[in-house]
């Protein structure tokens, strides 16, 4: 398989890696950059554990081709805690017991972050919609919904630009 050079931004840092032609973004992240935060739960686009942001939009990295991300801005959970400070979403997930086994958590966090980028004051319905592509088999969802709503509140109280 041909090795293809790619340039992209990962959590604000410039990166250059070689990938196997036809590889997915998930493989690029996990095998090449050492960022293991995006999980592989199904490789079918159905579970959402591999959710990352590509140019600000939520994407399922398991079905996104790495070569389509040449030049893209990619964000993962590894970039969520800025300067060692947990993101309000991370705090809220801890406080609301919204992570049990934790396997869905990175995907949930990125899906929620994507929501906040377009809708900083989401309703409960908005949150449910934003998380609808992410499966959690442990929590029953309610704690996650509560965590996202409470993070939104914290963030809008601390002013715009907090995301």
């Amino acid at each position: 398989m041909a090795k293809i050079p790619l340039h992209f931004i990962l959590n604000g840092e410039e990166r250059a890696e070689f990938v196997d032609s036809g590889a997915t973004l998930l493989r690029l992240l996990r095998d090449k950059t050492g960022d293991l935060t995006a999980k592989s739960g199904c490789l079918q686009g159905t579970c959402g554990t591999c959710t990352v942001l590509v140019d600000g939009a939520p994407r399922l990295s398991c079905i996104t081709l790495a070569e389509d991300c040449d030049g893209a801005d990619v964000e993962t959970v590894a970039g969520l805690a800025a300067h060692g400070q947990l993101h309000p979403l991370q705090h809220a997930v801890m406080e609301h017991f919204a992570a049990q086994c934790g396997f869905c958590t990175p995907g949930m966090l990125m899906a929620a972050k994507a929501l906040f980028l377009t809708n900083p004051r989401p309703s409960r319905e908005d949150v449910v919609e934003a998380l609808s592509g992410n499966i959690c088999r442990c929590t029953g969802y309610e704690p996650i919904i509560q965590a996202v709503l409470s993070a939104a509140q914290v963030m809008s109280a601390s002013g715009p630009g907090a995301a």
Binding site: D31, M94, C101, C104
Partner: protein
């Protein structure tokens, strides 16, 4: 969270320090940072990948296996068949002296369920392994298959598993696990009403978000580290050491972090093969179920069919209960003889019934082997029992909760298993639940206590 202290107040010391307190999970920080190390979360250079060639048939004789094209396929490092497995017997329950050795790790003479593993491909990439898997040619002679527990027990049904010689697990008590108290026939004769019903449930997949799997890294000195999502680390280590015929100290298992399990990750299906592949290639190897395998190949909670026959009096007392429960083990035993035994132990539910007869059968069919899942052998039975309780209440025109108060077991009552009841608290739970749910029940029920014997009618 709140602890209701009005019940059994004289029995409690109220010196609980942790119970009733909210405490952060110890792994929460790792979870939200995405750095909790699940088994696949290790960057391992030179990792090889396994894909399994599986039976497309429910029941067939294997006439021949030709893997030569797969062996020559670019990127393939090794093809493993039954011949390469030192002790080709899948041993889960034999470790605790229950299980029959009725299942091969890799099938060789026969396949007994659709999806049974036959040939293991070890390759440089998932892609190469998938490609090679399609090049393996296996000749089969298809055999008649049986998918229904009661069909399987009929004379003339296809024999699923020769090890057993019949399509059920033979307990020391015979063809079923039995529990007998009193005389059910006498009880039915006395009863005002009799209700017989059939209940059944399909197999239930645990469906964890992280699929079953492991990654094996060879260490120096012929030692192998196995990173695994198993819920049963030491059990799996012991099984692997028996299957591979190597002393346990050659195997180092790292586990305890499962991306969801729900009982579905106790079958040690991936570890022995992945370690063997690592031994044969000298390379790190990963064997990770894809989502299809997780849903179709990993053992589900067993399907069950349950017949309940109850004799009940107009005043609400159940005087006889007969249970026939057929648990679908699939083609092999795995944990199901044990699950069936649990079912027998769990019937007739938390009720005091003087005449009980329980027969629980562990039945072999040509379906995916079933195994553990939270409360296996119990949850489906509970569903059947409690639906039956509602139907009985309706039959005699009694409130369903009051009906349960009448029959709830109390301290000193003889259970069907010939053990006197101790520490009963069902009545108190129902009293609390009735208050919370605002479900009015007769004051007579609210005055009951688990510690007072039932008044004889």
């Amino acid at each position: 969270m709140e602890i209701r202290k009005k019940y059994f107040a004289d029995e409690r010391n109220d010196d609980l320090k942790e119970i009733g307190q909210s405490r952060q999970r110890s792994d929460a920080l790792g979870h939200v940072k995405g750095i909790t190390p699940f088994y696949a979360d290790r960057a391992i250079p030179g990792l090889l990948h396994i894909r399994m060639v599986r039976s497309p048939h429910h029941h067939a004789r294997i006439l021949g296996i030709d893997a030569s094209r797969a062996e020559r396929h670019p990127g393939v490092r090794r093809v493993i068949t039954a011949r390469d497995v030192p002790h080709n017997v899948y041993t889960v329950l034999s470790l605790i002296n229950i299980g029959p050795e009725d299942e091969p790790v890799l099938a060789f003479d026969k396949v007994r369920w659709q999806g049974e593993p036959i040939v293991c491909i070890v390759a440089d990439s998932e892609r190469a392994a998938y490609e090679a898997a399609q090049l393996v040619q296996i000749a089969y002679e298809e055999l008649p298959a049986v998918f229904d527990v009661e069909e399987a027990l009929k004379p003339g049904a296809p024999l699923v598993n020769e090890y057993h010689g019949q399509n059920y697990y033979r307990y020391d008590s015979g063809e079923s696990r039995k529990v007998i108290l009193g005389d059910v026939e006498k009880g039915f004769a006395e009863a005002d009403f009799i209700l017989e019903q059939r209940y059944q449930a399909s197999p239930i997949e645990q469906a964890p978000t992280e699929t079953t799997g492991c990654v094996v890294v060879p260490d120096q000195n012929n030692r192998f580290t196995c990173y695994t999502g198993t819920q049963a680390v030491f059990f799996t280590l012991d099984n692997s050491s028996v299957i591979l015929q190597v002393p346990g100290q050659q195997l180092h298992f790292v586990g305890g972090t499962a991306g969801g399990g729900f009982g579905g990750k106790v079958d040690c299906t991936t570890e022995p093969i992945a370690i063997l592949a690592s031994m044969l290639t000298g390379r790190p190897v990963s064997y990770i179920y894809n989502r299809y395998e997780e849903m179709q190949i990993s053992s589900p909670r067993a399907a069950e069919r349950i017949y309940l026959k109850d004799g009940v009096m107009k005043d609400g007392r159940i005087v006889a209960r007969q249970v026939r429960c057929y648990v679908d083990s699939g083609a092999y035993s795995r944990h199901t003889p044990y699950g069936t035994q649990k079912a027998a132990a769990h019937f007739p539910g938390p009720y005091t019934i003087p005449n009980v007869r329980i027969d629980c059968y562990c039945v072999y069919t040509n379906r995916t082997p079933s195994s553990a899942m939270r409360g296996f052998g119990v949850t489906i039975g509970d569903f059947a029992l409690e639906v039956q309780m509602d139907k009985l209440a309706r039959l005699i025109g009694m409130d369903p909760l009051e009906f349960r108060f009448v029959n709830a077991y109390r301290d000193g009552d003889m259970k069907a298993h010939h053990q006197p009841t101790e520490g009963a608290a069902l009545i108190e739970c129902m009293q609390e639940a009735a208050e919370w749910a605002d479900w009015p029940v007769d004051p007579r029920c609210m005055a009951m206590s688990s510690r007072e014997p039932r008044r004889q009618p």
